[in-house]
Amino acid sequence: MNHKQDPVAGTKGDVTSHDKAKSWFYSDVVKDHFFNPRNFLHEDANEADYNAIGKVGSPACGDELRVWMKVDPATEQIKEFRWKTFGCGSAIASTSMASVMVTEGEGMTLDEARKLKPQDIMERLGGLPQRKFHCSVLCDKALRDAINDYYRRTDQFDKIITEASRIIDPVSKVTDKDIEEAVLEGAHTLELVQQKTKVGIGNPGCLPAVEELIRFYKEKYFG
């Protein structure tokens, strides 16, 4: 078994720079978006002006993010993307960057936006430390929540993709969501996922399914 973790695309290790010589700090792009956030929703904006709203997280998990979109009904392109974030510097910067990316040019279509990956955002930011990875996952999730909201409001129910969790290991009660979280936090091998979740420890029968999920989420987020 391979215990060595491959570097995650778009991340820059943990708290050191890529050459490990200096403590990590934000890239110039991250700093620019953190100190001059783009497209955030001003206090006085009216929710009724938007036709799709998304929300993810809560203060209990450290970050909360809400997004408001204006989608052109004819083309399903995102014409406006506004947001508010309770979170750390990386969370603010990656939301700001995502807002720029989905509205660039004519604006992404909802199909295109759904394909936006966390590491696309991180690459545009010039990298984030590995343990800040969840910050950029957060805006990706809020975006997809808003996309679903748009389809719901326009009665296109067949296009809604929900992410209900299902139990993978009935003994440890670990769900596919738990495995997804573990992979996002950098556990890319079965051992590391087991360390985080205890999945399959009393129930080795579920391990093939777990390995398949790890592969799936690695592919999904890290390409």
């Binding site: 206090e43 203060p59 450290g62 508010k84 309770f86 750390c88 603010i92």
Partner: protein, 400 residues
Amino acid sequence: MNRQVYLDHAATTPLDPRVREAMLPYLCLKQGNPSSFHSFGKEIKDDIEEARRSIADILGVRSDEIIFTSGGTESDNLAVLGYARKNQKHGKHIVTTKIEHHAVLESILHLERKEGFEVTYLEPDRDGLITPEQVEAALREDTILVSVMYANNEIGTILPISEIGNRIQKWREAHSRPELVFHTDACQATGYLDLNVEKLHVDMLTLNGSKMYGPKGSGLLYVKRGIKLEPLQFGGAQERGIRPGTENVAGIIGIAKALELVQANREAESERLVHLRDRLIEGVQRTIKKTRLNGHTTNRLPNNVNISFMDIEGEALILYLDASGVYASTGSACTSASLDPSHVILALGLPYEVAHGSLRFSLGHETTEEDIAYVVETLPPLVEKLRALSPVRVDEKYFV
């Protein structure tokens, strides 16, 4: 050029130039090993013992009750693990609080998870106080160790150690339980409070050089004569075999000098810092709405200000302040690898969003009126800016 204001003295203090002077000979000229028999070694051995005596005098104890270590973490680990392992035949119950430093908490957690100890974690009140009655109520016939910090590193609340110690002493006598001992981590209290061990009624006490303008990598544990500890490391007779390894001579000379200096000046410095501390608290409360002062208002370290800025996340504010030359810290979320919010603020019964928004400003020797005025002037627009970005609105019952 911005003003540079360092307000993170609770994390670590700069080295006092007088301490540096005292240490310098031991970093270059005086280089013998104190365990050697030749005169080089002998002279250094004598200097170490002189340092030990000077510390013992300040604590009001005997020299052979001082064990030098590498810092606060090691001292706490040695006290907790060393005492519990050596004395477990007398009982396997430990009493501590939910707001201890991780050096104590994680050691105790290890004993609980891996070595079969039972632990009572006392809950503080909303201000971070623990009462002697709470401690007494938790004592059992098999309790061998109580560990309660002197002053909290995050919120600055000063705990009634002397009263708790007194209560434990009486209980010990009434129940004929000489094996029950009381440890306190006094790292944050060193520069401001009375360290006389007899008045505090403690049996073990932790100090850390790098919180008292001394060198990093220096610390000590006071251990009352007669108390037996299991060593954490092996391989020599230094420090009576309890903490073997060649002595960190410059560190020992440094911590002794640092302790002498901060204790000699502690009343004047406390008075000066209480004034600055209260100006900062008052200034923030006057200029920024929706804040909460965490920790006790008066039973509080002279150098500690811990404030939750509602609706925003601490790390983001730290970074905005950093860009303005103000260096503060947060016990919250993202700065630590765990991403967990402060266990101390949560233990006060406050919700996650209040914990995530907490900032600690810890003042020190070089802090001036101008520094405080600068912080009070710098903060409001930064808080305003981050609040504009935030979707969270904390319930107003938590403001104060």
